[in-house]
Amino acid sequence: MMFDVVVEVRLRAGIADPQGATIERALPALGFDGVTGVSVGKSIRFSLQAADESAAHAVVTDLCHRFLTNPVIEDSEISLHPAEVAAH
């Protein structure tokens, strides 16, 4: 079956995030007070054909570890759900 997958890649705790820090510093000048803890990551979306949800999860976990993230500095969070079948 087909799954829609979203992988969110973010810097691991303790790894400096200069982009997040820069955005956070800029916010007060734009009038946005009270915003803290800004962090910048990326999200990667794709479709995956797999036998079932646990098989899909195993593939995506492996993909994240070997390619989509650098485990030295990045973590990932996977969300996947069965793709909606397009009406024909």
């Binding site: 790894i15 200069p18 390619f67």
Partner: protein
């Protein structure tokens, strides 16, 4: 037989000709090896040149490490052959797990381009054998993602095993422990962010890279006197 250096080119590599020029200036031969080649030919040393392999998409080096040529580079490294990754080449070597750690965006999000002073911390490697510990070398940097980072365990290993080869005199990018270059356990795989190949001629403002490039050629078997 002439000493032969394989200079790896990915789509987006842009420092390969600088490396070839210096290798030839120092009396050895160089050939450019494209990323889809499964073999390094009769190479005595490998240089992974700088640039933006595969556009640095996803992460610098992340896609390049899966190139066919990288399997050949890994076996060459495992057999003890000298391998040097410069700038983007350093990033490729970390992504390929031939060197530990990672290079992340510079502290302060500044693209750093200019001469920097490096202190040689170990002369026990294929790139530093002809240098002296404590030498200060003026070598240019040119990078956005040169902020070396690693786990505290890895850092302790690098320090304890004398594998930090270069430190910045003034840290330009936030690298942990001012690290500019490291080597593997076998001391035959070296990665550094600065560009020694761009500091080998008076016209370029420094000749301090010659001692490093000639160390590499010596490790590759070039015995003839290196012109200085």
């Amino acid at each position: 037989m002439a000493t032969n250096v394989a200079v790896i080119r990915f789509p987006g590599t842009n420092c390969e000709f600088d490396v070839v020029e210096v290798v030839q200036q120092l009396g050895a031969q160089a050939q450019i090896v494209f990323h889809d080649e499964p073999s390094l030919g009769n190479a005595d040393a490998v240089v992974i040149a700088g640039g933006f392999a595969h556009g640095d998409y996803l992460r610098p080096g992340a896609i390049a490490r899966f190139s066919p040529v990288m399997e050949a580079v890994a076996s060459f490294a495992q057999s003890g052959g000298p391998v040097v990754g410069i700038c983007n080449g350093f990033q490729v070597l970390t992504e390929a797990h031939l060197l530990p750690g990672a290079l992340q965006k510079n502290a302060g999000l500044k693209f750093r381009c200019g001469f920097t002073n490096l202190r040689v911390e170990s002369s026990n490697s294929v790139l530093t054998s002809e240098a002296q510990v404590g030498d200060i070398l003026s070598i240019p940097i040119n990078h956005f993602e040169g902020n070396y980072t690693c786990s505290s365990e890895t850092l302790a290993e690098l320090q304890g095993e004398d594998r930090v080869l270069f430190r910045y005199v003034t840290n330009p990018n936030g690298s942990v422990d001012d690290i500019a270059g490291i080597c593997n356990e076998g001391r035959n795989v070296v990665g550094l962010m600065p560009h020694p190949e761009r500091a080998c001629h008076d016209l370029l403002g420094s000749r301090d890279g010659i001692v490093l490039m000639s160390s590499l050629l010596r490790a590759a078997g070039l015995n003839a006197g290196v012109p200085t």
